[in-house]
Each structure stands twice: as C-alpha cells, then as structure tokens.
Symmetry: C2
Subunit: 286 residues, 2 copies
C-alpha cells in the first residue's frame, strides 16, 4: 500500500482576509494623512460577461477595503491607439495609484502594447514586462497577483522552498511563468511543464511542490502526487473544480489548497495590498 | 554495459564564422547605402584585466566585420549617476546603434540602473529587463548573446526541442535564466537547477538537452548524462576547461559542444549580428 495521509488545507480565505484587513487599515491611514484614499483604475474593454463580473467583484472588494476605484469602460470596438492613450493618461494621473486592465481585451487589440502603457510603479496587477523581469531577477517591483498570492500562502504555511523540486504545470504569462521565477528566487529547483511535455506524470511525481495552472478540470490526480508534496491548485474550472482532483490528491499531499478557498481569494487580496503599497510609495508615506 | 557512442561535435567556430560573414556583408551594404557603418559603443569601467581583454577582443572582431566600435573607458571611481548619464547619452545618439556595458562594473555601482539606461532597441547584448521579458514572453527583441548563440547552435544541428526535457544548470541573469526562457519558448520542458538543488545528478540524468552554465570545471561527468543527450557546455574555466567533463560526456551524448570552439565563439557572433540588425532597423533599412 502507498503511504496515505490526509493533507492539511491551506486556508486562502483566512489569509486573504487578514491581508485585506491590513491593507484596509493602511488605506484608512492614508485617507487620514492625505485626505484621499488609494485609487485603483479598472479598465474594461467590451462587455464579456465573465470580465464584467470579475471587474465588478474587484471594485466591490476595493470599496469595502477603503480603496477608491475608478472605472473606465471602453467599447469592444476601441482601437489599440485609443486604449493605449487611455492607459497612458491614467499612468500620468497623480490621483490614480494602481491600474488594472482586465484581460482579455479582444483579438483586434495589441494587448501587450496596452499593458506596457501601464507605468511600472502603478502596475499593481504585475502584468508589464518590467514587472516580469523584476520577478525574474529578484528586483523590487509588483508581482503578478496569483503567483504573488501563492508565494504568500507558501510563506504562511512555512514551506521552505530551498532545494525543493517545484513543478509548475502551465506557462502562461500571468501565472505559470512568473510563478516559476518567484519559486526559483526562493531557491527551489523549478521545472516548467506544459501541453507539449512528453511524460507529464513522470515529472509531476517528482514534485515536492506542485503548482497546477493549466485550466483543465481534475487534470492531475492523486496517483501522480508524491507522498508528502505541497499541492497548489491555481485552476478554477466550471463547477468550482480545480486542476487537481482534490479527493485523491488530499490522500497523498501534506498541504493542499482547496478550490474554492485556496488560491482564488489570494489573487484579489494581493491586488488590493499592492494598490495600497503603490499609493503609499507614490504619496511619499513609506 | 551502458550504451556508449561518440557524440558528434557541435562546431560553434564554423557556425560563428558564417554568422559573422553574413553580418559583415550586411554591414558593407549599410555602409554603401548610408555612408556610415553600424556602430557598437563599448563601455568599460575600470581596468580589470579580463574585462579589458574581452572588450578589446569584441572591438577587434567588430572592426574585422566592418562594424565601427566606439569605446568609452571610465575610471573605476565613476559614480552610478555618471555611468547612467554616459549610457543615456549613447542611447540618444543616433550614430550609435548598439551598446555594450562590460560586466562587472564594480561593487559601488548599481549595475542594474546602468543596464536599464540602455535603450531596448540598442540592447544588442540583451541585458535589459525589457529584453529578458521579451525572451520570457516570446516577443520581438534582442536576446542575451550566449543563450542566443546556444539556440542558434541547436537550430543548426536540427535539434527539435518540442517536448524534450531541457535541464539548465545555473541561473544567472545573462545565461541560465534567459536560456531557460528561450528553451521554454521552443516547447521544451525546462528545469532550472542551481547550487541549492537537492539531488542534481538525479535531475541531470533526465536531460534530453543539458545546458551547463555554472562556471565550475568538469562539474558534470559522463556518468550523469543520459545516453543520446544533447550537451551544451557554456562553461569556460581556466585552462580551456568547460563545466562538462568532455571525454566522459562524449561517450554518452549524441551531440556535444567542445570547449573551446563550441558556445564561446557564438557569443560574439550573436553580438555582432544583433548590432548589425539594430543598425538595419534604426536606419530604416529593414
């Protein structure tokens, strides 16, 4: 019989709440000292229902935390030049401290050009090339929110990454790639797997720390999880299902994030925390 | 008995020569069309003998290829502000097409600030944050020269990277890290190992493509090389010794770069090629 155990859950909901409470307290301090609240600009192109919902949720969370949000809704027909001009104006506006461009922006738009119009010191969503390189080189800067949330969870549960084999399944620009760089910065041995990986289970089985970020429901099962591994499930598929088969994985892992309530809540918490941090710096309060 | 064979050598000297010949022909075209040659500015801080030699070698290779080089020698006592100002001026000078800041610049200088003063379109050495992110995201831009040379060698020898397990030993900002990103961009499964990796041989043994970039003489031996692997030795240690024990590795690998004559010559070739490419674009000849 293989070793079985029941993994301890990593409580993203609770940690996220504490982060938001701390950010909210700082936002209140900022208001007291300056007469204005930290401000996040949200930019939405078109009316994709999922995007509308995400932005509304982010704005609502800002409001509850005492962070002002300024919403810019642009028609789906907006050009790259118009979108870049809008974001550039927000980058130059001293009353805006953070900028979030909701992805995706539509196939006719050069999304990279739009992201790059975000000033690095306002890139609280961690999407610019500058922020990616900062994560890669271990330099000061804002992190992509989901990878940043994952690192905070690992830290909260005292996971020492030095020398551990971290396997990242997925290589997107906002999740897998930056997460791998952050894990490498913490001295993990890092493997990037993806859709073209030849023998994925053979590599997943080596993971001391497994990050699933592929967007395929229950793609990774307990049979492929190394006993005692730390399992981070960044998937969020229809029906509240992660990329990891939770029930079987839980019998093998030592620590695991549930879906929902694991990585999900951390993403917005990091967004709010970085917005408050950006405001603190831009207002000279640090 | 383990499978033994004698690996085919990857001839960096020959490929580098062909790249330089091609760049030289383009440089001659540029001179004919514009009356001026492509120009690389080399910036050297202090008089470290190895750095002096490297810069002299690079300038000599430029000259032979019909690329003008403009040398800026600064005293070891130069401040970060002065160095940044010098590089910013070169970034703005339309007669300079590429900029190379010789590493290292001395411990009292903020080297990152100096690198970031290089305009991305003149970053022919591929050291800026912009260039790193471009490599990470598969966007247009200049590559770090040694990783770029390695990718050209792999391409020259028809190494299909898709689904292959590429193991990068070393995680420096100018070699290991960007090389891993380029390999990932070619659909390899990529593992980053380093000094803190727990069981290095166990991971090296899985490598279909092994990149040794640690700067430790004969650090990797044939016993740890998977039969048939492609072995890229980016090490260059005293006595013309690589990071791989060549004799034993050659009995296991299918393709291997010798030291010298493998990766080494490719680095300068890519520097020259990117300088000519930068001039071509800046002069509107593309």
């Amino acid at each position: 019989m293989p070793q079985t155990q029941t993994a301890r859950l990593m409580d993203g909901t609770g940690l996220a709440r504490r982060i938001v409470e701390s950010s909210s307290a700082t936002a209140a301090d900022i208001l007291r000292h300056t007469g204005a609240s930290p401000c996040l600009a949200t930019v939405l192109v078109g009316e994709d229902p999922a995007s509308v919902t995400y932005v509304r949720m982010k704005r609502s969370r800002c409001e509850k935390a005492g962070i002002e949000s300024r919403h810019v809704a642009l028609p789906a027909s907006v050009s790259t030049a118009e979108l870049v001009a809008t974001i550039t104006a927000l980058s130059q506006d001293p009353t805006v401290h953070g900028i979030l461009l909701q992805h995706p922006v539509g196939p006719h738009i050069d999304e990279r050009a739009a992201f790059e119009a975000i000033a690095p010191d306002k890139d609280v969503d961690g999407v610019t090339m500058h922020s990616f390189a900062a994560m890669g080189f271990g330099l000061p800067g804002f992190v992509s929110c989901t990878p940043g949330g994952i690192m905070r969870l690992l830290d909260e549960y005292d996971v020492d990454l030095t020398g551990k084999h971290a396997v990242v399944v997925g290589r997107s620009a906002i999740l897998g790639k930056p997460a791998g760089m952050l894990l490498l910065g913490k001295n993990a041995t890092v493997t990037y797997c993806h859709s073209r990986t030849a023998d994925l289970p053979a590599i997943v089985r080596q993971a001391d720390v497994l990050l699933a970020a592929v967007g395929r429901p229950r793609f990774i099962t307990g049979a492929d999880i190394k006993p005692g591994a730390v399992v981070i499930d960044a998937g969020y598929n229809p029906g509240n299902v992660g990329d990891v088969d939770f029930d079987s994985a839980r019998e093998r892992a030592s620590l695991i994030t549930p879906v929902p309530g694991g990585v999900g809540p951390m993403t917005i918490a990091v967004l709010l925390a970085q917005t408050v941090e950006a405001a603190t710096r831009q207002l000279g309060l640090d």
